[in-house]
């Protein structure tokens, strides 16, 4: 499984970025090979639609799960359409979050914000 995490710094022991779409980097962690790859977020400087493009970056990395503190509607739509699981990050480093996910201690983000996709019903 590949896990994506928005990051401000390129180290496993730094914390998760508060911004999904505008985070400068994404950590892509492969749970099988235990490999960590940091990629640049080409969406971070977007004029608009950063969330959509950022979700596209995650999707193109073939990630299976995303850990993030929050997420906008559009990005959530892209990720959900691609069956990428979205988890809410906890305090601590990227590594702590990966371990928490593997221990099944992370909650799904959509369960925390049920109103997140209400615009679909408009």
């Amino acid at each position: 499984m590949k896990i994506a995490i928005p990051m401000n710094e390129k180290t496993l022991n730094s914390s998760v970025s508060a911004h999904f779409g505008r985070a400068p980097y994404y950590l892509i962690y492969d749970t099988e090979t235990k490999e960590s790859v940091f990629i640049d977020n080409s969406a971070s400087a977007s004029r608009g639609g950063a969330g959509i493009k950022a979700a596209q970056v995650i999707l193109d990395q073939q990630a299976n799960a995303l850990i993030t503190p929050r997420l906008g509607d559009n990005a959530a739509d892209v990720l959900e359409a691609a069956n990428i699981e979205i988890y809410k990050s906890i305090e601590g480093s990227a590594e702590d979050n990966i371990n928490a996910l593997l221990d099944k201690k992370l909650a799904r983000l959509s369960e925390i914000h049920p109103g997140l996709h209400d615009h679909k019903n408009r």
Binding site: I52, Q56, D60, N74, D77, V78
Partner: protein
């Protein structure tokens, strides 16, 4: 009372909301013999609350949105790469359109080598037209959640052109962003409304920069004037900006306005005030056009 008007378009602007744009716009239109009032503040139009126009007609304003034919799409992603607004995502081997992010440029359908993208109409809001005594009232209403009301403003202004009045008053959106630029584009003259505060002066400087950039003739109306120091007035003096009028801070006027009454239709005193303001503006416009012709 007012001098002859000859197809003049006046836009009323301010750097922030609540300075008195609508107060001024509504009363200037109502005091003129025959006028059009165009509410370009499409995110929160409120001029109609004053005019209470009758014989309303409605027109839906649409924009073009791409529509992908999956049978023709060869998954080349050129449309997704092209869109600078990221309104297209590539999911499960096909492009998905995010309508509310789309700016309707049509580029995706042009770059598609398969002709798999066509365009469909999407309503983003509507225009209401009605009559209030001698004033034709045009109201633009942007649907909640839509990114841009520019197409509605464009349509409002062209619609008025189809039945032009001798005097057109354009009630601009607050601020100095794209919506405002669109609303003043065809204006012959701009009136900047400012409050007597530091914040008011700051916001005035923003719209001052805008009308200067657009090379529009303009003047300032100072609203809610008190005896004390007026930073907006000071700004005008520093920049040598024409002050058209000083509307005093006036509870009676404020009360009429907050009850959605048109002051010039309720009181002879305010009819005289706004009539003389309109006279000054028209003289100023005539002066500007003569000195530039």
């Amino acid at each position: 009372m007012t001098t002859k008007t000859d197809k003049m378009k006046i836009a009323i602007l301010s750097g922030k909301g609540g300075t008195g744009k609508t107060l001024l716009s509504v009363n200037l239109a109502a005091v003129a013999q025959k006028a059009s009032y165009i509410d370009c503040d499409i995110e929160e139009p409120n001029g109609h609350l004053f005019f209470k126009p009758e014989n309303l007609t409605e027109e839906v304003v649409t924009v073009k949105i791409p529509q992908v034919n999956p049978a023709l799409c060869n998954a080349c992603r050129q449309c997704v790469e092209f869109c600078r607004f990221n309104a297209l995502a590539f999911i499960m081997d096909r492009p998905i359109v995010f309508e509310e992010v789309c700016h309707s440029c049509g580029g995706c359908s042009l770059v598609c080598p398969q002709n798999a993208i066509s365009e469909k109409d999407k309503g983003i809001g509507l225009i209401q037209k009605g009559q209030s005594e001698q004033v034709s009232v045009y109201t633009g209403i942007l649907n909640i959640g839509e990114a841009s009301g520019i197409p509605i403003i464009k349509r409002l202004l062209t619609m008025e052109q189809e039945e032009p009045s001798p005097l057109t008053i354009i009630d601009s959106p607050p601020g100095s962003a794209c919506n405002v630029m669109e609303s003043i584009e065809d204006a012959d003259y701009c009136i900047l409304v400012a409050e007597p505060t530091l914040f008011g002066a700051h916001n005035l400087s923003m719209v001052y920069d805008l009308v200067t950039l657009f090379k529009k003739p303009f003047g300032v109306v100072l609203n809610k004037c008190l005896e004390e120091e007026n930073p907006a007035e000071k700004f005008c003096e520093e920049k040598e900006i024409k002050i058209l009028y000083r509307i005093p801070f006036d509870q009676e006027l404020g009360l009429l306005n907050s009850n959605a009454e048109i002051a010039v239709r309720k009181s002879e005193k305010y009819r005289a005030l706004f009539a003389s303001l309109l006279d000054i503006v028209i003289q100023e416009i005539n002066h500007e056009t003569n000195s530039h012709s």
